[in-house]
Structures are given as C-alpha cells and as structure tokens.
C-alpha cells in the first residue's frame, strides 16, 4: 500500500474510533511527537465531519420516504371504514342483480304456467313475456361478459406481467443489489395480490433507483415499471377514478414510456361501454 494512503487509512480509522487499543495508542504516541501528522489529522477530521454532515442531510430524503410509508399505513387505517362502506355498497349492488336474476326465473316460471293455461291469455301477452325474459337474460349475459372482460381484476390480470427479476440473493450489500432485491419483492407482492405492500415496495424501488448510480437506460426501465405498476395497483385497489386517471395519464403523457401502448389500450377499455356494465 502507498505510504500516504496507509497514513490516511490509519487516520480515518482512528477518527472513526475503529483502531484497536494497541494501534490507537501507537498512533497517539506518533501524533504527540509529529506536528505534520497533527495538522493532517485535524484537517481530515474537518473533512470527515463535513462528509458525515452531508450524509446526514442526505438521510432527510430517506426519512421523507419513511414518513410517506407511515402516512400510507395510517391512511389505510383511516380509510378502512370507507372501504368497508364501499364493499357493503358493492354487496348491495349484488342484491339488485339477484333481484334481476330472480325476475328472470319468475318470468320463465310464468311462461311455463302460461304454456299450460295458454288458452286463458292472449297470444301477444305471452309473446311479450317471452321477449321480456329474453331481454333480461341477454342483459344478465352482457353484464356477465363485461365483468369477465372489463372488471378491475380481469384488466389487471390481462395487463400485469412479472418481468425476469433474476437471482437477487446475496447481493444486498450494494445499492444496486438492494434495488434489485426490492424490485423482485415488489413483483412477488404483485403476484400475491398484496397491492398495498407492493405500492410501498415500488415507491422504494423508485427511491433506490435514483441513488444507485444507474445509467439512463436502467433508470428509465425502473421508472417505467413503477409508473405502470402503480396504475395496475390503483386499478386493483378500486382507487378513486381521478387518482387512477392521474396515474394512467402520467404513462399516457410519456410516449417514451415502455408501457405507453398498453396504457392507450387500457384507457380505451376503461372508457368503453362494456366497462359501465361491470358490477
């Protein structure tokens, strides 16, 4: 090792309190009799203090991320009654649907009875009842079709693809390793449909990608992944329409986004007539 480098390494370890007792004592003995070493040590102390102060300032970005996570968790708790209310409304809608299905069944039964006592009713009334039954059945069928193809669950299943996240074991020492591991975890959570946790994980992916020293292409890859998966998560979570649209618009407004074509297709489906039939 270069002599000067050796000195700096020792000074750094000494200032960080990382020298063993014997080595620290030897260093202090040398320090006591060497004016140049004293001056150098004092200057390096100033440098390392300055760098440590900058590191602590840089932590404020991370802290802001933790705060956002904490608020998200808090909001989830606060939103729980609202979400429960919406779930109850959805169940009420099901009740309406069941009423419709029941009407179809009753109409069918009435038609059978009418067939038995057909001489008692005019032909046009019977035809009207049959037509109404067909309409009701068609309506239920269309609604079923729309739910199969255009429900949030179906759309997310259609649009979500797990990328090749590779092997991320044993590489969390580096910032890029941590980024890779968190990215893989975010997608595993998507696969498990743990959307709230996935949203947090993707947020961390974005933060890590900004400080991992990536080239522009890799930065773009992670940024596109995060913005698109955020759309899918909001869709899966049944987020408020303006929030979902704002996230989708972010992808639509960026033609270079890898998921731009998919965003265009998704928008068409969200705007379509069929989507309105989903219950």
């Amino acid at each position: 090792m270069h002599t000067e480098d050796y000195d700096i390494a020792i000074i750094e370890q000494y200032l960080a309190g990382q020298l063993e007792a014997g080595a620290a004592a030897r260093f202090e003995a040398q320090l006591a009799k060497d004016d140049t070493l004293q001056a150098d040590t004092a200057q390096y102390r100033r440098l390392f203090d300055g760098l440590a102060a900058l590191r602590s300032q840089a932590y404020s970005d991370k802290i802001a991320g933790w705060e956002a996570e904490a608020q998200l968790i808090e909001n989830e708790a606060a939103l729980a009654p609202v979400l429960e209310g919406l779930a109850a409304l959805r169940s009420e809608q099901l009740r309406d649907k069941m009423t419709g299905w029941e009407t179809v069944h009753q109409s069918a039964a009435t038609t059978e009875k009418t067939a038995i006592v057909k001489t008692l009713r005019p032909v046009f009334v019977r035809r009207l009842a049959v037509a109404a039954s067909i309409l009701l059945l068609a309506g239920a069928g269309l609604s079923w079709y729309a739910s199969q193809r255009y429900s949030a669950e179906s759309l997310v299943a259609d649009y979500y693809r797990m990328p090749n996240v590779g092997n991320t074991m044993g590489s969390e020492q580096t910032m890029q390793g941590r980024l890779g591991a968190r990215f893989a975890e975010a997608h595993r959570l998507m696969e498990k449909k743990s959307y709230a946790e996935a949203l947090i994980a993707f947020g961390e992916v974005l933060t890590l990608s900004r400080s991992a020293g990536l080239d522009e292409t890799r930065m773009r890859y992670y940024s596109d992944q995060v913005s698109w998966n955020r759309v899918l998560i909001l869709l899966a979570q049944g987020a408020a329409e303006p929030e979902l649209r704002a996230a989708l618009d972010k992808v639509l407004d960026d033609p270079k986004n890898e998921y731009h074509p998919k965003a265009v297709a998704l928008k068409e489906q969200l705007d379509s007539f069929w989507r309105k039939l989903v219950w």
């Binding site: 440590a52 590191r55 991370k62 705060e67 020293g213």
Partner: protein, 180 residues
C-alpha cells in the same frame, strides 16, 4: 453502571447498522414525537412531521459520528424530542409553557453543535463542488450514499475494490489540499 443500557445498545446498533435499523427507529419514535409537538407546540401533524425529519438529521449526525455516545444522560426518545425542541426554538417557536417537559441538559451539547453541523456540511459541499470528477462522484458514493467499495468500483468502471480504495485516498488527499 449506566441507567440507559438499553438505549446505549440501541445507539450502538444505529451507529453500525444500515438503513433498516434507522427506519425502525424512525417508526418507533414518530408517534410519540409528533404527539408531543402537536400537544405542546400546537403544531399540525404536517409541521410536526417536518420537525421530526429535521431532528432526525441532527440526531443521525451525532449518532454516526460518535458525538452522541455512551454513557447517555437520558434515553434516546428524550434526546430526539429535545433536539426537536431546540430546532423549534431556533425557528422562533416559543417553548416557555412546556420547557420543563423535556430537560435541556442532556441535549445542550448537541444543540451547541447544530450550527457546526450545518457549517461542516456547507464546507464539504463546497469542496466537493470544487474537486471535480471523478473524485466528487467517488467521495459521494463512499461517504454520502454509503456504497460498498465493490459497488464504487463497478459504478466507476474501476478494475477492483482495491483500485477504488486507492482512488478514494487520492481524492481525500486532493480534498485536503483544497481545504488549505
């Protein structure tokens, strides 16, 4: 025998631990800190969260540089809230009505250093701005972003961890020259 052994162990963990340990610490103290300043400082939740972040930066610097070390004079929660109180005062906030809720003594040495910390950060930033590339990126990776040397080498296209370490010392020496 210290009265704050558990907190000293926690401080040691923070000093040597990674981001996860700090996040855990943040999550643990976020509630009490915000509740304190919302009650006594009449702050909104957002203001209290902002103050917590400022206090955490000061606490982080003191913990990681060994300026806050055993034996502790108080528990870590008191230190953190105490730093918040000092920062609140520095911004012109009035603590007269609730000053006795958190004692000043243990936090006083840290409070005295807040201006030094800001000056040190300013000085280091100015030197990094002057030192030029690739030293600036290298030193930021090592000392601010806390990359391991292997990652530094990878990011700077250096052949080995040893080469990155050698470059680090060259850059530190260059930075010291700028200090003169």
């Amino acid at each position: 025998m210290s009265n704050y052994k558990e907190d000293e162990n926690q401080l040691n963990l923070l000093r040597n631990g990674g981001e996860a340990v700090w996040q855990q610490f943040y999550d643990k103290h976020r509630g009490p800190f915000r509740a304190f300043f919302m009650q006594y400082g009449r702050m909104s939740p957002e203001e209290a969260a902002g103050l917590l972040q400022d206090a955490m930066v000061v606490f982080h610097y003191n913990a990681t540089t060994g300026k806050l070390a055993a034996p502790l004079q108080s528990n870590l929660k008191t230190y953190l809230i105490g730093i918040g109180k000092v920062l609140h005062r520095r911004k012109g906030g009035n603590t007269a009505g609730w000053d006795d809720q958190i004692p000043d003594e243990p936090v006083a040495p840290i409070a005295d250093r807040i201006a030094d910390q800001e000056a040190a950060a300013k000085m280091a930033r100015a030197l990094l701005d002057r030192i030029g590339e690739p030293c600036r990126s290298l030193l930021e990776m090592v000392y601010i972003k806390e990359f391991v040397m292997e990652a530094v080498a990878e990011n700077l296209g250096l052949p080995s961890e040893g080469a990155a370490r050698k470059r680090k010392f060259d850059c530190l020496q260059k930075m010291k020259e700028l200090l003169k």
